[in-house]
């Protein structure tokens, strides 16, 4: 979105919804917003920058665990803990990206897959620091200046996070940096000839999107008030990839559509066909990749172009 008014309007509407929902609906709504946030930043990494990385959900986990450990075990004040957790994500992203971006496509996928697995192992073996397989629970969001943000007010925090992520990525995508990312994705050799450093561009895109995932993880930590290794496993990392592909990789709107559709699909299908919804999910995925690799947003664009073309013919 371009205009400030647009963001303000969206913030008001999405925040207003928070006040009319029951507790179960609130939980679904909050997680939907978080999935959209993650899909937006993953779209920048996978769709815009063209990096097939499976570490995005891991950074979500690093953000979540970091904020909990820093505020509960170390008793750091929340603002300081947020800054520190962002730094942890940035450093971790650099540690992964600097060697991994030397590798092309397939190998980056393998390296980030290994990193994602390593993270889950570390969580399971982390003893009292990570709480092992049971994770960490029984904590609450710390107070800031005597105030504890809860209920619909915390949902507003998530709305702001989502819109803030969208604003940052929207601006980056339309800047010289966004063009450099797409240039490197399209043709690294030509990009380098235009003065774009392909490796540096990949690293910066990886760090920015991973840090945004970490930030979303910090917010998530106080949604369920429990974090455990299962949440941050590979299953969700793949779901995120599918969301971006189904929606249409490279497009913000596509990421939002994909996240909404795939997150809500089980809620709609489960009452109808129970656990078979996973089967439908798999089928939809295969069909989408085979017949509509541009995603739903691509379908929308081609329909619009076709309508514009036929309108042009009828009025010569």
């Amino acid at each position: 979105m371009k205009s400030l008014a647009g963001y303000f309007f969206a913030a008001v509407v999405l925040s207003a919804i928070a006040f009319v929902l029951g507790s179960y609906q609130t939980d679904v709504y909050r997680k939907l917003l978080l999935w959209i946030t993650l899909a937006l930043s993953y779209n920048f990494l996978f769709g815009v920058s063209g990096q097939v990385a499976f570490s995005h959900f891991t950074f979500y986990g690093i953000g979540a665990y970091s904020i909990v450990i820093l505020t509960t075990q170390l008793q750091w004040p929340l603002p300081l803990a947020i800054v520190a957790a962002v730094l942890i994500c940035v450093v971790a992203a650099l540690v992964v990206a600097i060697p991994a971006t030397r590798l092309e496509g397939f190998y980056l996928a393998l390296a980030t897959l290994a990193f994602a697995q390593l993270f889950v192992v570390l969580l399971n073996e982390g003893g009292s620091v990570t709480g092992g397989t049971g994770g960490l629970a029984n904590y609450r969001i710390p107070e800031i200046a005597g105030l504890r943000i809860t209920g619909p007010w915390y949902t507003i925090v998530i709305v702001v996070l989502m819109l803030g992520t969208l604003a940052v990525l929207w601006r980056l995508e339309r800047s010289h940096f966004g063009r450099a990312c797409r240039a490197v994705r399209d043709n690294p050799e030509a990009a380098a000839a235009m003065g774009v450093d392909p490796r540096r561009t990949r690293i910066v895109a990886y760090v920015i999107s991973s840090a945004l995932a970490g930030l979303a993880g910090m917010v998530y930590a106080f949604v369920d008030n429990t974090v455990n290794p299962v949440i941050f496993g590979l299953e969700n990392a793949f779901l995120l990839l599918f969301m971006v592909i189904i929606g249409g990789s490279g497009s913000h709107a596509g990421a939002v559509i994909g996240a909404v559709l795939l997150y809500l699909m089980p809620f709609v299908l489960s009452p109808l066909i129970g656990h078979h919804h996973a089967l439908v999910f798999g089928l939809v995925m295969v069909l989408a990749v085979l017949f509509q690799p541009q995603g739903l947003i691509g379908l929308w664009h081609s329909l619009r172009d076709r309508r514009a073309a036929s309108a042009g013919r009828s009025t010569p």
Partner: protein
């Protein structure tokens, strides 16, 4: 013309395993001149081109640009110093419009940090607007004005070549490298291309042209270097080159091409 050449190539050599593709090449290029490099197939033209463009590291020798060594620098550093190139096989960025393609060429000329971009500061907005305006001017200069918002897939091959040129000019080059620009173009497109290249040199940009098409090159270049088996066998004006015995011998299998040129 300044007293020191913009580009100074000394002892440039490149070996691929047992093959000496380029050996001990020496030449200068000056601002505002069109320098042509020709030679039969396998003479080392492309290897020479790629070394000067920064896509290939020389095995020996030096490339000095504006008094500074540039050989061994990464490819993207060449553009930052003012050496821009076109590709023989057009390499547009397919996901972008013509305008955006040209704006990528401006990458090294946009001085605006990512913090400014994220905060959408006036400086960032100005940089973006200025880049779009400059790109539009260059697109008009090469004659693609009507295609400015077009998908690059809809361009013809010749238009794609013009896009390559606009994109390279966007980097504000002081040395422009053309890799067989006439290859695959129709005669009328060649005429248009020659006009564009002359206009670029007239702006004071040094033009280095590697070309297979002798007729095209001879009509355009002020000075020509002839390569054969990786070595320079002649250097001079097109008129001198046409009658040079070494050149005639090198092109013996293609004497017709030489006399027609």
């Amino acid at each position: 013309m300044s007293s020191i050449a913009l580009l100074r190539v000394r002892g440039l050599s490149r070996r691929f395993g047992g093959l000496q593709a380029v050996a001990d090449l020496n030449f200068d290029a000056w601002s505002g001149e069109v320098l042509g490099v020709i030679g039969p197939n396998g003479a080392g033209k492309s290897t020479t081109f790629n070394m000067i463009a920064g896509a290939l590291t020389p095995s020996a020798g030096s490339i000095e640009f504006d008094g500074q060594r540039v050989d061994g620098l990464p490819t993207h550093a060449f553009a930052a110093r003012g050496i821009m190139r076109t590709f023989q096989h057009n390499k547009p960025f397919p996901s972008m419009s013509v305008l955006e393609n040209v704006m990528v060429g401006m990458h090294t000329r946009i001085a605006c940090s990512l913090w400014q971009v994220v905060a959408a500061t006036p400086a960032a907005k100005h940089a973006q607007a200025h880049a779009a305006k400059r790109a539009a001017e260059l697109i008009e200069f090469v004659g693609l004005k009507e295609w400015i918002d077009a998908d690059v897939a809809t361009l013809s091959f010749g238009q794609g070549r013009l896009l390559e040129i606009a994109r390279a000019l966007a980097g504000e080059p002081r040395l422009m490298l053309f890799d067989e620009p006439a290859a695959g173009l129709s005669p009328s497109e060649c005429l248009r291309l020659a006009d564009v290249i002359r206009a670029i040199a007239a702006r004071g940009i040094a033009v280095l042209l590697i070309e297979h098409d002798m007729r095209f090159l001879m009509s355009l270049a002020e000075r020509v270097i002839v390569l054969n088996f990786g070595r320079s066998i002649a250097e001079g004006t097109p008129d001198q080159i046409r009658v040079d015995p070494a050149v005639v011998e090198a092109y013996l299998g293609d004497l017709g091409a030489l006399s027609r040129a």
